[in-house]
């Protein structure tokens, strides 16, 4: 327990350091923008002001839209969180069986088309996949709503399905998961202790599942978060999903840099939070590593 606590303290400290660096980078970029109205002559003062706003989570009012940034960004962040979380679940449920299949020698014949499927699905541009799904579901079935602005009754929850499905299938996650899982699993299955347990007649998959699937899966899931946020921008734009990515794109069009900086800051928090959770989970799985 102490070990985990120490790890946590170290990671949080590193995250705070990183946030200092990221905000410095962003405020430097902010100064480079032509036509910026700068209230402070000194860069350091401006940077300290930005830091103060960041660490008190009080971002003030956007000078472009005149809205309170907190009230705009946090609901959008919640929606994006739901989208990415669901997408990760979908990718994992699809890619783990394919990875296991392609690591087994006896399933080679079946695994080849499955692996090809994972490649094809990940190479389609995400927005085209989105339009394809909308086309198919509106034309041939009326069951799943494409978009719903409010969530009043239970049926409108179904509107979550399609964006999550598209982000989970596309955006290059499935093929990456499959590649890593099958590589690691086949490496583990040829190690001595697995061969020995095979010789003893035990189930190989159970003994190799920990090292071969769980560790690479945990590492790859949490390091995919930045890519998922990038893909979420496209998917949110296709499905009109009121999330952070669409907000980022809109504020980019409006040249609303303060909102964009807040979004960047929140996504850095999201990414680093994922890293911390990953390290804690890995600390539980492989205690000798920490």
């Amino acid at each position: 327990m102490l070990r985990i606590l120490r790890l946590l303290v170290r990671e949080v400290f590193y995250t705070v350091l990183l946030i200092l660096g990221v905000t410095a980078l962003l405020s430097l970029l902010f100064r480079l923008m032509p036509g910026t109205i700068s209230f402070e002559k000194n860069w350091l003062n401006e940077y300290l002001k930005l830091l103060q706003r960041v660490f008190t989570f009080n971002f003030g009012v956007s000078p472009v839209s005149g809205l309170n940034i907190n009230q705009v960004v946090f609901p959008a962040f919640k929606n994006t969180f739901i989208l990415t979380f669901g997408a990760i679940l979908i990718s994992v449920t699809i890619s783990v069986p394919i990875g296991i299949f392609s690591a087994y020698r006896s399933f080679r014949g079946i695994s080849w088309p499955l692996t090809m499927f994972s490649y094809i699905v990940s190479s389609i541009p995400v927005f085209f996949l989105g339009y394809l799904v909308i086309y198919l579901f509106t034309r041939y079935s009326n069951f799943i709503p494409i978009y719903s602005a409010t969530l009043e009754n239970k049926r409108q929850l179904l509107a979550y399905i399609l964006p999550i499905l598209v982000l989970g299938l596309g955006n290059d996650s499935v093929s990456e998961f499959v590649r890593i899982i099958s590589d690691e699993l086949s490496r583990v299955m040829s190690t001595d202790y697995v061969v020995a347990s095979k010789a003893r007649g035990e189930s190989v998959i159970r003994s190799s599942v920990m090292e071969g699937i769980l560790i690479p899966l945990v590492t790859i899931i949490f390091s995919r978060i930045p890519f998922l946020i990038g893909g979420a921008i496209i998917v949110e734009y296709v499905f009109n999903w009121p999330g952070m990515g669409r907000l980022a794109f809109q504020s980019a069009l409006n040249r609303d840099l303060p909102v964009l900086v807040v979004i960047a800051f929140l996504s850095v928090l999201f990414v680093r939070g994922g890293m911390i959770i990953k390290d804690i989970i890995l600390g539980f799985i492989i205690p000798q590593e920490m």
Binding site: G21, S190, I234, A248, R255, A264, S267
Partner: protein
């Protein structure tokens, strides 16, 4: 991610010099062949489009032949202004080819530099370098691109420069883990004992051995990434602008007619993107399993 690669390298670095012909399976040969086919047609398309020969004029508007389905005269049909889709696809390679090479060059050069420095020298230097790399790594790439577009102007070369910068951390952490394992190998020790200079050890025995596979694999994957980013940006309307063809804005423009049943307008460019990216990924994967010491099955 980093820790995971360390693990992988540590366990499999013993067998570095295994001849190629013992490793390639049928699957790798098929994927590399497909990938080389894709690379070939990309290069041919690019050469055709910069010399402006052999194809119909991609900009020529022909109102009488709008929405023509694929036929002998127009192999891939015509779009909503009667322009030939095939020649627009050929011309569209210009939009990502040179910017992609720029981004690959940046990411591999600086990734190699930082990776070798942080792997070979002391731990303090490496932690300082990786602090800065982590700063770049923790901002999602797309959001950084949006910020860059707001601050500067949406030029594809500038965007690809930043794409290259954002893939530096990945390359350098990979190379650092390789250098870490190489440093402990016997032959480096032997080089030192034989009195080779530090410079020749680094350049000849570490950079050349550690980077030659990584560079090729990064180049193929980087090209795929470039195409995906260019298509996504053009779809959002902040990439290559309309009269100039690019694969992304062809799909994006064609999607308006998708629901009318004229699906080839966007499906054909999307299929070309799919085949190209799949070929590049397969090429990277095949090369990876040949170069990289994958455990023999």
């Amino acid at each position: 991610m980093k820790r995971f690669y360390f693990e992988k390298e540590k366990l499999s670095s013993e067998e570095f010099y295994v001849p190629l012909h013992k490793r390639a399976s049928v699957r790798d040969v098929v994927s590399i062949g497909f990938g080389l086919f894709v690379v070939t047609y990309l290069v041919i398309f690019f050469l055709i489009s910069i010399t402006n020969s052999f194809i119909k004029d991609p900009m020529k508007v022909d109102i009488q032949h709008m929405f023509m389905p694929p036929s002998i005269e127009h192999i891939f049909g015509t779009d909503f202004l009667g322009r030939d889709i095939f020649s627009r696809i050929v011309k569209g390679t210009e939009a990502f080819f040179l910017p992609g090479i720029l981004s690959i060059a940046i990411s591999t050069t600086f990734g190699l530099l930082f990776g070798v420095i942080s792997g070979y020298y002391s731990k303090t230097i490496s932690s300082i370098i990786f602090y800065f790399l982590n700063i770049i790594d923790s901002i999602p790439r797309f959001i950084l691109i949006l910020i860059v577009i707001v601050i500067f102007n949406p030029s594809i070369y500038l965007i690809m420069l930043f794409v290259g910068v954002t893939s530096i951390p990945k390359v350098s952490s990979y190379i650092k883990s390789k250098v870490d394992t190489l440093k402990k190998q016997r032959f480096i020790e032997a080089c030192r004992a034989l009195g080779l200079s530090e410079r020749s050890i680094i350049f000849k025995h570490i950079i050349w051995i550690s980077s030659r596979s990584v560079l090729i694999i990064r180049a193929t994957l980087g090209m795929g990434e470039t195409i995906l980013i260019e298509t996504s940006l053009s779809y959002l309307g902040i990439g290559v602008q309309e009269p100039i063809p690019s694969w992304g804005n062809m799909v994006a423009m064609g999607k308006d007619f998708f629901f009318q049943g004229k699906i080839w307008l966007s499906t054909i460019p999307a299929l070309v993107i799919l085949i190209t990216i799949m070929g590049l990924y397969l090429l990277g994967d095949g090369l990876n399993s040949i170069f990289n010491e994958r455990v023999s099955r």
